[in-house]
Chain length 457, copies 2
Amino acid sequence: MAMANGRQVRKRIIIIGGGFAGINAAIGLAKLPVDITLIDRKNHYTFQPLLYQVALAVLSPAEIAQPIRSILRDHRNIEVLMDEAVNFDLEKRRVDMKTGVQLEYDYLILATGSTHSYFGRDDWAKLAPGLKTIEDATEIRRRVLLAFEFAERQMQEAGTHPPLKFVIVGGGPTGVELAGAISDIARLYMTRDFRHINPADAQVLILEGSPAILAAYPPDLQQKAVDQLAKLGVSIRTGAHVSDIQPGYVMIGSERIDATVTLWAAGVQASPLGKLLHVPLDRRGCVIVDQFLNPPGHPDVFICGDLAHVEEKGTQVPGVAQPAIQMGIYTAKRIARLVAREQGSDGSGLSEPFHYFDKGDMATIGRKAAVANIKWPFHGHWSGLPAWMVWLFIHIAFLIGFRNRLAVFRQWAWTYLSFEDGARLITGSQDLPGWDSEYGREQNPAPAEAAVETKST
Amino acid sequence: MAMANGRQVRKRIIIIGGGFAGINAAIGLAKLPVDITLIDRKNHYTFQPLLYQVALAVLSPAEIAQPIRSILRDHRNIEVLMDEAVNFDLEKRRVDMKTGVQLEYDYLILATGSTHSYFGRDDWAKLAPGLKTIEDATEIRRRVLLAFEFAERQMQEAGTHPPLKFVIVGGGPTGVELAGAISDIARLYMTRDFRHINPADAQVLILEGSPAILAAYPPDLQQKAVDQLAKLGVSIRTGAHVSDIQPGYVMIGSERIDATVTLWAAGVQASPLGKLLHVPLDRRGCVIVDQFLNPPGHPDVFICGDLAHVEEKGTQVPGVAQPAIQMGIYTAKRIARLVAREQGSDGSGLSEPFHYFDKGDMATIGRKAAVANIKWPFHGHWSGLPAWMVWLFIHIAFLIGFRNRLAVFRQWAWTYLSFEDGARLITGSQDLPGWDSEYGREQNPAPAEAAVETKST
């Protein structure tokens, strides 16, 4: 990347985090005469809105994840490093990497997103995995599929098995999507595969602490979601605060709820990197930024995506995909203007603040159903099949990579028409909390009267 | 599965192992009035001939693996158990499962295949993974991709990195295929992705103990393979007996060979289940069987696939896919005849022994090249592109599952035309033996003069 005007003149931009915000910022900046370094701990970008489909064996990891290097390879002024930032010196404009490298920047974009919050109970993480990474998704897939296998084994051994209960803590979009998808695979895809158990008898329960699921949605759509989940056999308990999670069960106060597999879709907290900036954070660890996405006093530092606490008309912009994408694009544009001003332009557009353009929200509820709170290009509350089709279209459109788009579309079409899911592989260990991995016996058996009796050979 | 003639009359057949032999035996038996239980430790069948393409990021695991339940779901007299046999009582015709279940059989088919042999040095397993399972394949993928990332990091930090050396112990078909595929991804797919290192400078070395690679092939094809590997930049050392494997290097006698990643494609040994039968084994642990695939004195026990030591005209039938498939089919046919005789038929065909119908062997050498020793439907030694096309056709034809066939074909066509591989994901830990996982620095740096100097920004 030898340039006639030499290296010193070119601004150095460091982007930390290769999610929606980071990738969009990088692509937005790629046409400028700047040198960009994008750093991520993983080698791949993950399309998080479809992670639950990997977790429930519909899609393969490679269909929703792509190496960051491949995405950015044609932009010769971007280099990608698989590394981790461990320290920031905002005065000296320097980032220290775990490997010992020190990188200097003119502009820093921090977009490391969020992670699960177990409300201080990190011991729950192993018992109730959340869904943020490809590894999380394959771990959930492993547990869900293994639960059916263990039940089949128990039937073979004892002629009975305790009911399969999938408990999902948290009734936001991820919890609702996981619940619908588990119900789908149990009722539609797995029934023909087992001889002893009836997978369709599996119970799915959402535990939500607040009074309603899908808190961000209007009440009519919340009710539609409840109705559609009920049709799938998913139970919902609202106002249910989980007080403990143990292998094989969950406690709500003093009430014990059996759980063959417990999944976590409740809390998120900001990436811990925000703390290293020594700037004001909100209670979830998000960096409080101004209208230009800068923490106070640092116009050369931009916080994008879930890590940013941005307010729009007094309300915090939600930590979902759309704002992250828009923040990435905005930041690239703003840096372009800052660079242009230094090179003698009139600085026009520099007063333009970040504005979140809210097109609406949607969540799928199994096969053929969804709720969509559409705000653009028209207003509307949609549910059922039409909402699901809108969801389908939008999620394919936003997948990065032409090939991935085709592959996902084909896989969905196949799954939809054939009732065959794509990737029902159990890989890795055969441990399931609450089960004796050696013998496949449940360690906290549920009451015998609840046992499911199905056809036996 | 209620039958008019009741359960007692129906013969019970237990198949242990869901590979080529076990699956083919199960399908062959499915039309008989018998009850079949197929047991495997994994929930999925793996198309092992294409595992190396998962290891080198061309295919996704789900494209070459399929749940055993799905494959057999339409045969209502087959049940599948994810479990493990721990003891056999051949007199009482009984198998003890790890879960404590005891299963009785009239006919037992044991087809648990083979596993890596590290010649008594099991400590090498972690340093040089072999390639038998999906987990092995993703582990190899992780190590190979991580090596490139670590080298890029080192260039960023120190401006130099020791040469990337991929050492493959064993020059059989697996070793040759791995070597060709690593060379391919380094030269063709990754070059555009890195800014500091030149992936094409990666070195690939095959270490083979015997005087020639591909020992099972005729000398002219061995030479063709050597030539084709040389074109890909793969080095070969024959007569090289590995005396030690350490993080970062391999020893041949007193000579140290640096190895960023070491892979094992050398020895295999029979599945340990053979020992539990208390019948004669050969030195690799294979069960010595007669012409009906029975161990001496046990006409109701059949050994199929890699676990069987069968001789044909004084030569041992090789432990590859074709014989395994044929043994599975033969055993199903023979059991059908035994069942028919008990039900009053004249016992015709009962003297028919197993005969291995050898159609030939083939191994690919990267993109567009292969060697094929064709024995049926004509004799011929093929190499280069024609051999590769035959290989392509046969491997797609033998994949189980219409959908997998299409998916693999599409993925190959895409990879071939676009130079984009499909699944270059690093998942799991970031440890690489010989590297400091915390800092990404090599612990056994190679001599400095060997460092690769490429363009730096």
